[in-house]
């Protein structure tokens, strides 16, 4: 059974280790607005700041040149830094970067990155990081469904930044935004399939 839950609401009268909840005096309480599934003991969160995790692929923008490297804005509390020596080319202000989190220090918010490359062209859209799993779908099924219909290149950053290039960019963008709005509803895969079908022609600018 799923029900809405709010900051300070009681989740369980025992200690549960759930993301988005805290433990106090023998009980677990919610820290956020969301839905609690008491069967799966899972808190479904819709909106909030991105929490970095090692292994996550994230997308950001070059904001500054500092010392011998670049300061990159991934929408986190502090910018990340990559040395210029780690790049074969010179980067510019405004360049888009995709990278993987190699290390994350929770105590100071510092993120270390690896496997980074520049993304040229395309557009960036932003969605809530908590809706990213819905955009990707089980085993990537939702994303594949979109790619098949639109032929767009899509890279989804776990931080909620999404890069779209080529193909029917408008349709890709509006499908993802539709998923974001309706993430809490059921039957979403079918709804998006229908949406892609209905709008294949009308939104194509090519």
């Amino acid at each position: 059974m799923k029900k809405f839950i709010f900051p300070g609401d009681l989740i369980d009268k025992e200690k549960l280790n759930i993301y988005g909840a805290y433990y106090h005096n023998g009980s677990t309480y919610s820290l956020v607005t969301g839905m609690y599934d008491d069967e799966e003991k899972r808190l479904i969160i819709f909106n909030g700041p991105y929490e970095p995790k090692i292994g996550d692929v994230i997308i950001g923008v070059i904001e500054d040149i500092r010392g011998n490297g670049y300061s990159i804005n991934f929408g986190l509390a502090i910018n990340s830094y990559i040395s210029a020596r780690d790049f074969r080319e010179t980067l510019n202000y405004g360049d888009i970067l995709v990278a993987k989190i190699a290390n994350y220090d929770e105590s100071d918010g510092n993120v270390e990155l690896t496997e980074h490359s520049v993304l040229r062209g395309g557009i960036i859209i932003n969605i809530s990081p908590f809706k990213v799993p819905r955009v990707i779908g089980k085993k990537g099924s939702m994303l594949d469904q979109i790619k098949n219909k639109t032929n767009s290149k899509i890279i989804v950053g776990k931080n909620g930044w999404i890069w779209i290039k080529d193909g029917n960019v408008n349709l890709t963008k509006s499908s993802i935004q539709k998923i974001e709005r309706e993430a809490h509803t059921s039957g979403l895969t079918d709804k998006i399939a229908k949406y892609l079908e209905d709008n294949e022609e009308s939104l194509d600018v090519n």
Binding site: G48, A77, G109
Partner: protein, 238 residues
């Protein structure tokens, strides 16, 4: 107006019972840019709140290596009063209230989760009609929750007062101005812990704790309204 003119036939001038709140309406997620937002109408008060963050702390030297800085700005618009046109920008009162509101919210927001960062809460009073700082706290709390900022509780706030020697809940502007005491309080409803408290006027200890009773009893209703707004914002399908 005299203090004893504030009641008529055993009721308040607007017809309310002494422990009755004015109508409260809240909407969340009403702005495109703000990470979280809330719009509130409480009696004649109209307040809009917006939250950004966690983000880089500006100025850099203000950053705390162990937790986020909560920057809270409470401002009254030049047109918030039915009477004269005011001045835009902060004044001594709004600076004091910004601090008092910030400290109340700091109690419940999990700032340790975002070291070195900053969370900005902007609360703009478009219309003021008594109890504005409490309405501002409610708007700020809903905006923070709407932004998904982790909070240990969803705080509420309401002011009690004393008019014609009687304790009353949620004073209107006229009751504020001509009454005998003004007692704004914010609570973390889970345990009714007091997060914000100010008072001016004259009250006996008995009167004060009766006022606190009124406030505690209204906490549930205010929290319900906050939750409804947050739930509606999630359910909003274009």
């Amino acid at each position: 107006m005299e203090n004893n003119e504030l009641t008529k036939n055993g009721k308040r001038l607007d017809g309310r019972e002494f422990n009755e709140m004015r109508p409260l309406k809240i909407e969340a997620g009403i702005l495109k840019n703000a990470h979280g937002s809330a719009y509130l109408e409480w009696g004649g008060n109209k307040i809009i709140a917006g939250v950004y963050g966690p983000k880089e702390c500006i100025p850099r030297h203000d950053a705390n290596p162990f937790k986020a800085k909560l920057a809270c700005r409470y401002t009254m618009s030049p047109f918030c009063s039915k009477e004269e046109h005011g001045r835009a920008g902060p004044n001594r009162r709004s600076i004091e209230l910004s601090m008092v509101l910030r400290e109340a919210l700091e109690n419940v927001v999990e700032l340790e989760r975002y070291p070195k960062a900053m969370i900005e809460v902007s609360i703009e009073v478009l219309q003021a009609e008594g109890g504005t700082r409490c309405a501002a706290l409610v708007a700020g709390a809903v905006a923070l929750a709407n932004a998904g900022i982790p909070m240990r509780d969803l705080p509420i706030a309401v002011a009690a007062g004393k008019i014609a020697d009687t304790i009353c809940l949620d004073c209107s502007k006229i009751e504020d101005n001509y009454g005998q005491a003004d007692f704004p309080v914010a609570l973390a409803p889970r345990n009714n812990d007091i997060l914000l408290m100010q008072m001016d006027g004259l009250m006996t200890k008995e009167e004060m704790f009766k006022a606190l009773d009124f406030i505690e009893k209204s906490a549930e209703k205010i929290k319900e309204t906050e939750k409804n707004a947050l739930e509606k914002a999630i359910n909003k399908v274009n």
